[in-house]
Amino acid sequence: MRAMAVIDGTLGSAAAQAGALDAFLRDGLTGAAVDETVVLYRADDGRERLIELSPTRDVRLVKMAASCPDTAAGVIAEMARAGDVSLLLLAGGAGPELATRIACRCGGAVLTDVLHAQAEAGRLVCRRPVYSNHMTGRFELRARPWCVSIDAGWACAGGAGEAGPDTGKPGEGSTGKPGEGSTGKPGEGSTVETGDRSAGGALSAGGHRVLSEADETGRTVDRRFRDVELGPPPETGDLAGSRFVVVAGYGAGSREGVARIAAAATRAGADLAVSRPVVMNAWAPMDRLIGVSGTRTAPDLCIVVGASGAAALHWGIEGAGLIVAVNTDERAPIVANADVAVIDDGVAVIEELAGMIAELRR
């Protein structure tokens, strides 16, 4: 069975994708071996670093004109069909789109947010969260190629960092704007086999071997998109990579309550996150949202103030080293799902605690 990992190096999240895939190959996949990684890239200066990011020794490089999931899916779908690939693994925020489009074009099956995958007796069974993380579902993927987009939690497991400068930060002269590619016909790219899989090719400094290099910069990029502008994402204070997070929930009671929790978090040296009801009431901006519909984080310490601990929120913090719940209701789910709980007014407790932490860290 032939299996491939895919890293979309045209995105700034390439390092995070690689870290997640590496962790998944170690601990999330059983019964199948993935021994090649397809790396999409769009600028020569990022090429070497992207090769070294590969979670497998063998790498197939594809040079793209632009970051465009539609075009990327076409390239990978052709590779999958031509190479009789049974399993494709993808990661990152763009993973679900790429996996879905490839599956649609190859007549395969797609599953996203995959926690574990097991190949046995010619079938693939995967586990993924369902019912907003209240349960885990087991799914059988019936059509090949099996296109699997792995759960965001694997990025935490992989300890992946941010993208380096050579992967093209937004607004820094990137060449990857959708709609700005050249107009060659699809399928006119050239592929050069650089390594012999059986005989072995030259290894890079990091021990990687480039099996092939394809130039797909001539592919037509979707011209229905125009006037593309790339800007920095909203400031989230690196919530995903934070080591200390304070989560404010609806129990804060008001915008003022959330502001007091935010001030306490700052004083304690923590990043503020909020639950969805807080955002829905416009007590905090959307970019602070944590949970299934927001950011996922795995800090050393997470203090949840005035949130009931809905499964959707818990998804965002379940990788935390220590979870502390502060809640007036001792029957709230968060109390049983935390390591330590304080039953009292959340705002009052976090303000007291912040002062003590500030003193300790001084």
Binding site: L11, G12, G93, P96, E97, T100, R101, A103, A109, V110, L111, P129, V130, Y131, S132, H134, M135, T136, G137, R138, F139, L141, R142, A143, P170, D222, R224, R226, D227, V228, L230, G231, P233, P234, F244, R276, M280, L289, L301, S308, A310, A311, A312, H314, E318, V324, P333, V335, A336, N337, A338, D339, A341, V342, E351, L353, M356, I357, L360, R361
Partner: protein, 279 residues
């Protein structure tokens, strides 16, 4: 421009007790998932944003002398969907329809995508299909991309803002993996709405409701759309074969003390000091 919003009405999962999270008996392939029929219904949060964004596009067109877009809404489901559709009619949606397929499609995203694509392709469909980026008990966010692939339309995901330009063009803002992307797109297109700041659907007044009380919700069967639902479900490329409870309980040690100050002190001294010092 015709805007069709596809939305899902979901059970309020948070109203289920922990003990209620057990799989139903029977064949999962026949929809025997968790029993949620008695649970209150909600609009899926991303779909709620999509429904309000469509109304704002209509409002903006009126304010700028553009041709007002025609708004339609469609949902797959039984009679429990109707109150939501009636509300949308009161808010000014010209057409509100539900597709009653007579089967559970919670874990059948390919079937859902086929139905939505058929709705968009219908003569009463839309040039812009607005969907939430993910919804429902089993959907993993694949439906918008499947619909786009089926229709051959361009698709933008994680949409957070939409602005109407002249000549039916739309200026769309998306929160991409590592950047904020702004792009102009000419319909037809699929737009998958993500964490938009616009997150609440407005509430119609009693006058709005009375004014549209005679407008009926359309009820479509799968066959009306040329769809054989049994065949679609049989061909679903990935199927749910089991459900497991999630074990997330931790120690839950409750800190003692009388006042917030005392409790904070105990918390820090007994549980947090070592962690804080490592940060």
């Amino acid at each position: 421009m015709r805007i069709l919003v596809g939305f899902k009405v979901t059970p309020d999962f948070e109203s289920l007790r922990e003990a209620d999270w057990i799989a139903g008996e029977g064949n999962l392939a026949d929809g025997a998932g968790v029993e949620t029929r008695y649970v209150p219904r909600l609009l899926n949060c991303f779909d709620e944003s999509a429904l309000e964004l469509a109304l704002r596009l209509r409002d903006a067109a009126a304010g700028r002398s553009f041709v007002e877009p025609q708004l339609s809404a469609v949902s797959i489901g039984g009679s429990q969907v109707e109150p939501f559709l009636t509300t949308l009619l009161a808010l000014g949606y010209g057409r509100a329809a539900r597709v009653d397929v007579g089967a559970d499609v919670d874990f059948a995203p390919a079937a859902v995508a086929s139905i939505l694509a058929a709705c968009a392709h219908d003569s009463d469909g839309g040039d812009v299909l607005l969907l939430g980026c993910r919804s429902g008990p089993g959907d993993g966010g694949t439906v918008p991309f499947r619909v786009a692939e089926t229709l051959g339309w361009p698709c933008l995901s994680q949409v957070v803002e939409i602005e109407a330009l002249s000549g039916d063009d739309l200026r769309v803002t998306c929160l991409a993996d590592d950047c904020l992307l702004r792009v102009t797109v000419r319909p037809p297109c699929v737009l998958a709405v993500g964490n938009a700041v616009v997150s609440r659907l407005r509430v119609p007044t009693l006058r709005d409701r009375l004014a549209r009380r005679d407008v009926l919700v359309d009820v479509l069967r799968a066959a009306d759309l040329g769809i054989d639902i049994d065949l679609l479900l049989e061909r679903e490329p990935a199927g749910l074969i089991g459900l497991e409870a999630v074990r997330r309980a931790r120690a839950g040690v409750v800190v003692g003390g009388e006042t917030p100050h005392e409790k904070a002190r105990h918390l820090l001294d007994d549980h947090l000091r070592a962690v804080i010092e490592r940060l």
